[in-house]
C-alpha cells in the first residue's frame, strides 16, 4: 500500500485534499442523483402533470381540454359543490349530511345533499376508519399474545405466519375471499345453520364483503408494528404498577398500552391509508353500494372518461392521506 509513498507526499497533497472533499460532497451527490433523478422524473413530474390536468376540462368524448380558457377550478368545484349552490351551502350540506348519517334519529337537517363525490369521499374515509378500528380490535390482542405471552422460541414462527399471506398475491387472496362468501360456499353453508341466515344466502357484493376484504389484506400491517412495540416493553413495569395497587386492567391501561401506542399509531396509518384509497377490493367484492373514491378515480380514467375530474379526485384523496399522516406525526409518530 501507499505507506511508503512518503517521497511523493507533497505531490499528491492536492490530490488527497480533493479526495477528502469528494468524500463529503461528491459522495452525497453520487449516491443521491440516480434516485433523485428517478423520483423527480418518474414520480414528481407525473404528479405535477396530473395536478395540471385537474384544472382542465373534459370534451364530449373524453378528450382533455387544457387550453388557457379551459383552465380553472371547475373540477374541484364540481367535486365539492352541488350545482347551483354556494360554498357555504355546500359546506353546511356536507356537515348536515355527516350528522344525519352518523347520528341516528336526525334526518333532513339540510335540504341540499352534498355532491355524490363528497359522499363517496366520506364513505371511503369511513371504510378506512372502520377497517383500522377492526384491525386494531382484532390485531392488538394477537400482537400482545405473540409479543409477550407466547413462548419466546415460537415468536418468530408466529410472526412469520402473520406476514406470510402478505407476500402471497393480493388478488389471489381476494379471490379466495370470493370463494368463501359466495352462496353455498363452505362458510355460507355453515352459517346457514343459524336461524337468521337463509339457505343460499351470499355475502358477496356487499359492504360487509368489502370491509372483510380490507381487514383481511391489511391486518398484518397493524399486527407487525404493534408486535414490535410490545416486544420492547419492559413488563416489570406492569408488576411495578400492580405492586402500587393497580389491578391488571389498570396496569395494562395506564402502563402497558401507552408504551405500545407508537406501534398502534403506525399500524393505524398503515391500515387506514391503503384502505381508504382502495379500488380493487371494492371492485371485486363490492356491490352497487360499495363503490369507493378509488373506483371513482379509476373509472374517470376508464369507462367514464373524465380525466380532469379524476385527477382532481386523486388530489383530494391525496389531501386526505396527507392529513392523516400529519395527524400521525402530530401524535408523535415518525415515518419509517
Amino acid at each position: 500500500m501507499g505507506r511508503d509513498s512518503n517521497n511523493q507526499a507533497s505531490g499528491i497533497d492536492a490530490q488527497l485534499v480533493q479526495r477528502v472533499r469528494r468524500n463529503q460532497w461528491t459522495g452525497a451527490i453520487v449516491n443521491l442523483s440516480p434516485s433523485a433523478f428517478w423520483l423527480g422524473v418518474f414520480f414528481l413530474a407525473p404528479l405535477a402533470v396530473m395536478f395540471f390536468f385537474s384544472f382542465g376540462e373534459r370534451g364530449a368524448f373524453g378528450e382533455v381540454l387544457l387550453a388557457a380558457e379551459n383552465l380553472g377550478l371547475q373540477q374541484y368545484r364540481r367535486f365539492f359543490i352541488p350545482e347551483d349552490t354556494s360554498i357555504l351551502v355546500a359546506l353546511w350540506a356536507t356537515v348536515a349530511w355527516l350528522i344525519e348519517t352518523v347520528v341516528p334519529g336526525i334526518e333532513t337537517l339540510s335540504a341540499t345533499q352534498p355532491t355524490p363525490y363528497v359522499r363517496l369521499l366520506f364513505k371511503s374515509i369511513g371504510y378506512g376508519s372502520l377497517a383500522t378500528v377492526v384491525s386494531f380490535a382484532v390485531g392488538y390482542p394477537m400482537a400482545y399474545y405473540i409479543g409477550h405471552i407466547a413462548p419466546e422460541r415460537y415468536q418468530n414462527l408466529l410472526i412469520v405466519l402473520v406476514i406470510l399471506p402478505f407476500w402471497a398475491s393480493f388478488l389471489v387472496r381476494i379471490y379466495a375471499i370470493q370463494l368463501l362468501l359466495s352462496a353455498n360456499s363452505v362458510l355460507m353453508s355453515a352459517l346457514a345453520v343459524l336461524p337468521f341466515v337463509e339457505q343460499g344466502a351470499s355475502l358477496m357484493y356487499s359492504q360487509f364483503a368489502v370491509l372483510l376484504g380490507l381487514v383481511y389484506i391489511w391486518i398484518p400491517f397493524m399486527i407487525l408494528p404493534v408486535y414490535s412495540s410490545i416486544e420492547e416493553i419492559d413488563f416489570t413495569l406492569q408488576e411495578a404498577a400492580m405492586d402500587l395497587g393497580a389491578d391488571r386492567f389498570e396496569a395494562f391501561y395506564h402502563v402497558i398500552f401507552p408504551q405500545s401506542k407508537p406501534g398502534v399509531m403506525a399500524g393505524s396509518v398503515l391500515v387506514f391509508i391503503p384502505s381508504a384509497g382502495a379500488s380493487v377490493i371494492p371492485e371485486l367484492l363490492g356491490g352497487t353500494d360499495s363503490q369507493m373514491i378509488g373506483n371513482f378515480i379509476a373509472s374517470q380514467f376508464g369507462s367514464a372518461g373524465n380525466w380532469p375530474l379524476g385527477a382532481a379526485g386523486a388530489f383530494v384523496l391525496m389531501g386526505v392521506m396527507l392529513l392523516s399522516i400529519a395527524a400521525y406525526q402530530r401524535g408523535g409518530g415518525e415515518l419509517g
Binding site: 500500500m1 509513498s5 507533497s10 488527497l16 477528502v20
Partner: protein, 377 residues
C-alpha cells in the same frame, strides 16, 4: 535529530463552533508508550483520530516517521488502531479478522505490495481467502496474544477479554509504526483490566512499537506509560513521565486530576530561603517557582502529610481537628480542619490498630516544603 515516530505541530480541530483540539504540539519518541490522559470531552480521542487520519486537523500538521500525513487517508497511514468497541467484523472468523490488514496490504505470496494500477485494484477487490504466508502470520499473532488455535472461531463465540486480544492481534499484524489504542480496556472488568494493563506494557516492550494510548483512567496511565500527556479542554496541560506528572504537576488541573491532592490558594512571595504562600494570615512554606504569579497556589498530596508526633518540626506544621475518617484497610483517610477553617486530607499507613485516630481528636499535621508543588494556573 531525535527519532520521533509521531510529531504534531499546532494541531487544531474545530467542529463548527466547538474547538475539540486546541493548538497541540506533541512529540512521541520511537518505541515509547505514550498515554493521552484526560476527562471525557477533553479532546484526547479527537487527537488520536487526527493521528490515525479519521479526522483532518483544521490547522496544523501531523507527521508520522517525519512524513507529513496531514491529508493522507487512514488506509495509507502506517498506524493501527485498537477501538474501544474492538470493531471486530462480525461476518468474519477470528482468522479472517486478523488476516484482514495483511490482505489489504496485498501480501499474496508473491510478496507484491503497494497499489499497482487498475488491474491490481480489481484483483484486490475480488480477492478471497488466504494463503500460507498470511496463515502463518495470523497464527503467529494469535500466539502472541495467547489465543492460539482460535482461527476458525466466530467473533460472537469469544469473551470480551478474548475479543480485546483479537483486536490487538488484528491491529499489530501489519507491523504499524504506531499503535493507537482508544480506551481498549474500558469494557473489561477490574481484574481482567489490571492483567491486561501489565500484558499490554510487556507486549509493547517486547515489540518495541510506539503505542499511543487514550484513557481517562489515571491509574491505567500511571501503570503503563513511559510518558503521559494530560489533556484538558483541547490542549495538553502537561507532558511528562508518570513520576513527573504525579510528583510535579505543572498546573492546578493536573494536580487535581491526577491522584488526590490538597489545593491551597494564596498570595505567593519569594523569601530568602525559598518561597511562601499566605492564606488567611497563615504562611505556608513552599519551594520557589519562578513562573508563579502573585496569586498562585500549591498542592500537597495526602500521603505526604505526616500526622502525629512525626509532624512536629517539619517546614509546615499545624494543629488540626479530625472531622471525618474513612477506614480503607491498609490506610486511614482523615479529613482535618485547621482553626482558620482550611481543610486537608491526610493519608496514614495503619501499622497497628492502636495508632488509629478517632473523629474529634486534635492532632498535629505537617509536611516538608519540598513535598509541596507550587502551581501555575
Amino acid at each position: 535529530m531525535t527519532d520521533y515516530d509521531v510529531r504534531l505541530e499546532g494541531v487544531t480541530k474545530r467542529f463548527d463552533d466547538v474547538v475539540a483540539v486546541n493548538d497541540v504540539d506533541l512529540r512521541v519518541e520511537s518505541g515509547k508508550f505514550l498515554t493521552l490522559l484526560g476527562p471525557s470531552g477533553c479532546g484526547k480521542t479527537t487527537l488520536l483520530r487526527c493521528i490515525d487520519g479519521f479526522e483532518t486537523p483544521t490547522e496544523g500538521a501531523v507527521y508520522i516517521k517525519d512524513e507529513d500525513v496531514t491529508n493522507v487517508p487512514p488506509f495509507e497511514r502506517n498506524t493501527s488502531m485498537v477501538f474501544q468497541s474492538y470493531a471486530l467484523f462480525p461476518h468474519m472468523t477470528v482468522g479472517e479478522n486478523v488476516a484482514f490488514g495483511l490482505q489489504m496490504q496485498g501480501v499474496d505470496g508473491s510478496g507484491e505490495t503497494g497499489r499497482g494500477g487498475v488491474g491490481q485494484a480489481v484483483k484486490r477487490l475480488v480477492r478471497r481467502g488466504s494463503n500460507e504466508e498470511i496463515e502463518s502470520r495470523v497464527e503467529e499473532m494469535l500466539e502472541l496474544v495467547e489465543l492460539p488455535g482460535t482461527k476458525d472461531r466466530q467473533i460472537s463465540e469469544l469473551s470480551g477479554g478474548q475479543q480485546q486480544r483479537i483486536a490487538l492481534a488484528r491491529a499489530l499484524i501489519t507491523e504499524p509504526a504506531v499503535l493507537l489504542l482508544d480506551e481498549p480496556l474500558g469494557a473489561l472488568d477490574l481484574k481482567l483490566r489490571q492483567n491486561m494493563q501489565v500484558e499490554l506494557k510487556n507486549l509493547q516492550e517486547e515489540l518495541n512499537t510506539t503505542f499511543i494510548y487514550v484513557t481517562h483512567d489515571q491509574e491505567e496511565a500511571l501503570t503503563m506509560s513511559d510518558q503521559i500527556a494530560v489533556m484538558n479542554d483541547g490542549h495538553v496541560e502537561q507532558l511528562g513521565t508518570a513520576t513527573e506528572i504525579y510528583e510535579e504537576p505543572a498546573t492546578e488541573f493536573v494536580a487535581d486530576f491526577i491522584g488526590e491532592t490538597n489545593l491551597v490558594r494564596g498570595d505567593y512571595s519569594d523569601t530568602a530561603d525559598g518561597a511562601a504562600i499566605d492564606r488567611n494570615g497563615r504562611t505556608y512554606v513552599v519551594p520557589s517557582n519562578p513562573e508563579a504569579d502573585a496569586t498562585a497556589g500549591f498542592a500537597v498530596r495526602p500521603e505526604k502529610i505526616r500526622i502525629g508526633d512525626e509532624a512536629a518540626g517539619l517546614d509546615n506544621s499545624f494543629r488540626a481537628t479530625i472531622i471525618d475518617e474513612i477506614y480503607k484497610g491498609n490506610l486511614g483517610k482523615f479529613v482535618v480542619e485547621l482553626d482558620d477553617g482550611g481543610r486537608f486530607t491526610v493519608d496514614m499507613q495503619i501499622r497497628d490498630q492502636g495508632s488509629y485516630l478517632q473523629t474529634g481528636e486534635t492532632v498535629q499535621i505537617g509536611w516538608a516544603a519540598e513535598n509541596s508543588v507550587v502551581l501555575t494556573e
